[in-house]
C-alpha cells in the first residue's frame, strides 16, 4: 500500500492586507518580540515545517496620506528570525527579502549567517520591488524599470548562490596543531559579471549547514512559474481552491524536468486562512464575522478607491458600486501596495457584474473579491479538507495565516493537527534537523541555476 502524501504546514505571522483583526480583544502586538515567540512556540510544538515573515520597505499610503485602517508597522525580518532561532530548535525560519533595494553580498551574508545561527533552518522568499514610491527610502531611489525587476531578481538569486558556493563544504579545517584554519588560500573567491551586477572578490561567510538556504518564490505569471521551476525550492502560491490549485500544481511540476529536477524538488505551498467552529454552520458564522471585521465600511471604500483611482468617500459602503468608471490617467491613489489590478476598467466591470448578480453592496462585494483560500469548518472538516487538497495534488501543504496575533494558531494546533497526525499525513515528530529535511528536499545543488536551458 502506498503511504499517503505528507502534508507540509507553516505559520505566517499575520500583518497587512487586511488579514489581521486588530480590534479583537485577543489581538496582541505586531512588534513585541513576545508575539513572535508565541507564534513560533505554537508552530514548533505542533511540528510545523517553518514560520514565515513578510517584509516592509515603506508604509503604505492612500490618497497621499499614510494608510491607517490596517496594521501599520513591523520589525526587521532578518533580526526577528535570528532572535527566533534562540527560542526554537527545529522550526524553519523563512523570511521575505526583496531583490531590488538590496545587494547580493549583504543578503548572501545575512542568510548564510542565519543558517549558521539556526543550525540549518533558514529560508528566503525572493520578491521584487521596483517603484519610485518605495525607492524614496533607498540610496538609488527609483532606478529599476518595472520590466527589469524579474531579470534583476533572477540575477540576484544566481549571484547569491555563487557567493554561497564560494566556500567548499570542508574549508574550515581549524587544525590547531597543524596551524591550518582554512584549507584553501583562495576561499570565498568569486566573480560575477552580468547586466545587474559586476562584483568580484572574497565572500566572508563559510558554507552554512544547508549549503544553500531554502529558496521560496511567489511566481504566478508564466515567467514567474518558469523562474520558480528553474531556481526555487518552494512556491508560496495564491492558488488555494481545489481546481485552480490542481491546474497550477500540474503546470509548475511539469516544468521541472527540463531543468533536470524531479517533482519533489519544488514544493507548492499556497497561503491559506482558516476559521474553526464546533460545527460547519458555527464556523461559517464565525468566518462571516471575521470577514466583516477585516473589511469595515471604510476599508471597503479604500479598496474600491484602489481600483477606481478616485475619491469615493461620498459613497455609502452599504450601497451600490459607483456608476462612474475608474480614472486611468491620474497618478495612483494607493502606493506601496502590490496587487493593484492592471486593467482597472475591466475589473470595475467585473465587480459591477458580480455585485449585480448577488445583490451585493460595496462592502459585501469587497468581502467577496478579497476572499482568500480559507478552510472553514469543524476541526475534523478542516483536517479533511487539507488532507484532500494534498492527496488530490492541489498543493504540497499550506502556509497558514491566522487573523489574530499572536494566539490565532493555538486552536488549530490543538485540534486540527492531531487529526492530521491520526490520518497519517502529518509528522508526529521532527525526524530531521534542517528545513530541507522537514520539506523533504534533496541536498542543495552547487552550480548555475537554470543550467539546462542556459537561461538566467
Amino acid at each position: 500500500m502506498t503511504a499517503k502524501r505528507q502534508v507540509h504546514l507553516a505559520a505566517h505571522f499575520p500583518g497587512v492586507n487586511n488579514t489581521t483583526v486588530w480590534s479583537d480583544p485577543a489581538a496582541g502586538s505586531h512588534i513585541d518580540f513576545a508575539s513572535f515567540v508565541h507564534l513560533a512556540a505554537t508552530a514548533e510544538a505542533a511540528k510545523f515545517d517553518f514560520i514565515f515573515l513578510a517584509e516592509g520597505l515603506r508604509l503604505r499610503e492612500h490618497g497621499g496620506r499614510i494608510y491607517d485602517l490596517d496594521v501599520v508597522g513591523r520589525p526587521d525580518t532578518f533580526t526577528v528570525l535570528a532572535a527566533l532561532a534562540a527560542v526554537t530548535e527545529h522550526l524553519g525560519l523563512a523570511g521575505t527579502i526583496n531583490s531590488t533595494f538590496n545587494e547580493p553580498y549583504e543578503v548572501a551574508r545575512q542568510f548564510a549567517s542565519l543558517d549558521h545561527l539556526s543550525a540549518g533552518r533558514a529560508a528566503w522568499n525572493v520578491v521584487t520591488s521596483w517603484d519610485a514610491f518605495t525607492g524614496e527610502n533607498f540610496r538609488r531611489g527609483s532606478y529599476l524599470e518595472q520590466s527589469l525587476r524579474y531579470e534583476r531578481a533572477r540575477e540576484f538569486l544566481q549571484t547569491v548562490r555563487e557567493l554561497w558556493d564560494s566556500w567548499d563544504d570542508g574549508a574550515v579545517v581549524a587544525d590547531q596543531d597543524g596551524g591550518v584554519f582554512v584549507s584553501d588560500g583562495d576561499v570565498g573567491s568569486f566573480e560575477h559579471r552580468g547586466p545587474q551586477f559586476e562584483i568580484a572578490g572574497r565572500f566572508n561567510v563559510p558554507r552554512s549547514p544547508q549549503g544553500q538556504p531554502v529558496i521560496f518564490q511567489a511566481g504566478d505569471s508564466d515567467e514567474g512559474r518558469e523562474f520558480a521551476a528553474s531556481a526555487a525550492d518552494a512556491i508560496f502560491s495564491r492558488h488555494g481552491t481545489l481546481a485552480a490549485g490542481q491546474a497550477f500544481y500540474t503546470d509548475v511540476k511539469s516544468r521541472l524536468a527540463r531543468y533536470g529536477r524531479s517533482p519533489e524538488e519544488l514544493k507548492i505551498l499556497p497561503a491559506a486562512t482558516f476559521v474553526l467552529g464546533d460545527t460547519a454552520a458555527d464556523a461559517e458564522e464565525r468566518a462571516d464575522a471575521v470577514r466583516r471585521q477585516q473589511v469595515s465600511g471604510q476599508t471597503a471604500i479604500a479598496f474600491l478607491e484602489q481600483v477606481w483611482n478616485r475619491d469615493l468617500s461620498t459613497y455609502d459602503p452599504d450601497g451600490p458600486l459607483p456608476e462612474v468608471d475608474p480614472l486611468t490617467d491620474a497618478e495612483a491613489r494607493t502606493k506601496g501596495r502590490a496587487g493593484v489590478p492592471r486593467d482597472p476598467v475591466s475589473t470595475a466591470r467585473e465587480w459591477r457584474a458580480i455585485a449585480e448578480a448577488g445583490h451585493l453592496s460595496i462592502r459585501e462585494l469587497i468581502i467577496h473579491v478579497t476572499a482568500r483560500q480559507s478552510f472553514v469548518g469543524s476541526p475534523a472538516q478542516v483536517a479533511e479538507q487539507i488532507d484532500h487538497y494534498v492527496q488530490s495534488e492541489a498543493a504540497d501543504g499550506f502556509i497558514l495565516v491566522p487573523h489574530i496575533t499572536p494566539g490565532g494558531l493555538d486552536d488549530f494546533a490543538r485540534t486540527v493537527v492531531p487529526l492530521l497526525q491520526e490520518r497519517g499525513v502529518f509528522r508526529t515528530d521532527y525526524t530531521g534537523t534542517t528545513l530541507r529535511d522537514h520539506l523533504d528536499l534533496p541536498p542543495a545543488r552547487r552550480g548555475r541555476i537554470g543550467a539546462l536551458t542556459g537561461a538566467v
Binding site: F33, A82, Y105, H116, F138
Partner: protein, 400 residues
C-alpha cells in the same frame, strides 16, 4: 573628571580572540566560531558579570593580514557571521548586557540598518547599540560594484591629500548615515499606535513623520516601517584614532572608543574629544571608553609567556592599534583606575584570546574592581542607555 566613581566596562568580541594566532590556543574553539553556542557562551559570560555591553566585530570583506586586500593565508581565522544577527541570536538568552554589533555605513542602506538596530532593541528589551564604521577598502567596494575606491596603504592617509579627501568623504557619509538612522528611530512617536476601534484607525498618522533627509549620498523619505525602539535612541558608538573620527563621534555618537597608550595620552585624547564636542556645539558629552588589548594570567610571567607563545606563532611581536596590557587582573585594575582618574569613563577590553582572557575579565577583574569600589555590583538599570547613565531622549518630532 569622571562623573561617578564607577567605571564602565565593555568587552570587544572578535573571532577566537584579537591576537591572530589565538585560535591555536588550547582553550580556543576555532571549529565553533560560526555556531550559535559559541557566541551565546561568550555573551552569556559577559551578562553574568554584569558588563555594560559587548561589541561584535564585522566587515564587508574577508579578513587579511594585508591592508590592501586578501592575503591567501591558511593560518588565520577567516570568515565572519553578520554581527547584527549574532546579537539578535543571543539577545533572548541574555538579560542585562548591552549588545553593540558593528555595521558599516559605506555600502549598506541606512533604512535597513535603522530597522535592524531598532528591532534588536525590541528583541533585547532595550539593550541595543551599534558601532558605526566606514569601509575604506577598494576590495570591499568591489563586492558591491556601486562605487570604486582607490587602493591605498594605511600611511597614505597622512601623505596623500587625495586619499585624505576620500577618507574625509567616507566619514561625512557616515555622519549622514547616522543622522538618517536616528531620524528614522524618531519617525514614529512613542504613542503612534492607537488601535482606535471606533474610528477604525490602527495608528494616528499625525504621529508618523517623514524624515525627508536629502544629502550627497542618499535621500530618505521615511517614516520607518518599525516603531520607535524601547530606548528611543539605541546607543551609537564610534571607534576613533584621530580627528575625522573624533569629529564624527562628537557630531553623531553617544560613545567613542579611543586608543591611548598611557594615562597622559588618555587625558590628552579626552581633552581633544571635548574640544571637538565644543566645536560642533554638542551639549551632552560623549562617553569616552579606552580600548585595551589584554593578555591576562595568574601572574605576570605566565601572561608574558603566553603572549610570547602567541607572537612566536605569529612570527614577530603583534601590535594592535590599542595599547596592550600583559599581566594580572589586579595589575589591569591598577591601570584602569589610573586612566579613569585621567578622565576616561569606561574601558572596552579586547581579549587577546577567547575564552580565556574573557574568563579572566569576568571571573577575576570584575570582582577585583568591585572590591576597590570601581564597578557596580550588578545591573542597576534595565537598558543599555541606563547602564551608561543616559536618559531616554524625547522624540525630536513630537511637539511638546
Amino acid at each position: 573628571m569622571p562623573t561617578s566613581t564607577f567605571l564602565h566596562l565593555a568587552v570587544a568580541l572578535e573571532g577566537a580572540g584579537w591576537h591572530p594566532t589565538a585560535w591555536r590556543e588550547p582553550e580556543a574553539r576555532p571549529s565553533e566560531l560560526f555556531s550559535a553556542a559559541y557566541w551565546t557562551d561568550l555573551v552569556g559570560q559577559a551578562d553574568a558579570a554584569s558588563l555594560d555591553f559587548v561589541t561584535i566585530e564585522d566587515g564587508l570583506g574577508l579578513q587579511s593580514d594585508r591592508a590592501e586586500g586578501p592575503d591567501d593565508r591558511l593560518d588565520r581565522v577567516r570568515g565572519r557571521l553578520d554581527a547584527v544577527l549574532v546579537a539578535a541570536r543571543v539577545a533572548p538568552l541574555t538579560a542585562g548586557v548591552g549588545l553593540v554589533p558593528t555595521a558599516t555605513t559605506t555600502h549598506p542602506e541606512p533604512f535597513h540598518v535603522s530597522k535592524s538596530i531598532a528591532t534588536l532593541d525590541f528583541v533585547s528589551q532595550g539593550r541595543a547599540g551599534w558601532r558605526a564604521q566606514i569601509s575604506a577598502r577598494a576590495v570591499e567596494a568591489a563586492h558591491f560594484g556601486r562605487r570604486t575606491l582607490p587602493t591605498f596603504r594605511p600611511g597614505a592617509v597622512q601623505d596623500d591629500p587625495a586619499i585624505r579627501q576620500v577618507v574625509a568623504d567616507l566619514f561625512e557619509e557616515s555622519a549622514d548615515f547616522i543622522e538618517v538612522v536616528r531620524r528614522l528611530w524618531d519617525s514614529w512617536e512613542d504613542d503612534a499606535e492607537i488601535r482606535d476601534a471606533p474610528t477604525g484607525r490602527f495608528v494616528d498618522r499625525e504621529k508618523l513623520h517623514y524624515i525627508d533627509f536629502d544629502g550627497r549620498w542618499f535621500s530618505v523619505r521615511g517614516p520607518s516601517i518599525t516603531p520607535r525602539p524601547p530606548q528611543g535612541q539605541p546607543v551609537v558608538a564610534v571607534l576613533a584614532h584621530g580627528a575625522p573620527a573624533y569629529e564624527l563621534a562628537a557630531r553623531s555618537a553617544d560613545v567613542v572608543f579611543v586608543t591611548p597608550h598611557d594615562a597622559g595620552s588618555a587625558a590628552r585624547i579626552v581633552a581633544e574629544v571635548r574640544a571637538h564636542e565644543a566645536a560642533v556645539g554638542r551639549r551632552e558629552p560623549l562617553k569616552v571608553f579606552a580600548d585595551l588589548l589584554v593578555h591576562l594570567d595568574r601572574d605576570a610571567p605566565s601572561a608574558a609567556g603566553r603572549r610570547e607563545r602567541l607572537d612566536e606563532r605569529y612570527g614577530r611581536t603583534w601590535i594592535s592599534d590599542a595599547e596592550t596590557f600583559v599581566g594580572t587582573p589586579a595589575g589591569l585594575a591598577d591601570r584602569l583606575a589610573e586612566w579613569h582618574e585621567a578622565g576616561v569613563e569606561g574601558f572596552r577590553l579586547r581579549p587577546a584570546t577567547l575564552p580565556r582572557d574573557l574568563q579572566a575579565i569576568t571571573g577575576q577583574l570584575v570582582p577585583e574592581l568591585r572590591r576597590r569600589g570601581l564597578f557596580r555590583d550588578g545591573y542597576e538599570q534595565a537598558t543599555l542607555r541606563g547602564h551608561l547613565g543616559l536618559g531616554r531622549p524625547a522624540n525630536r518630532y513630537a511637539i511638546a
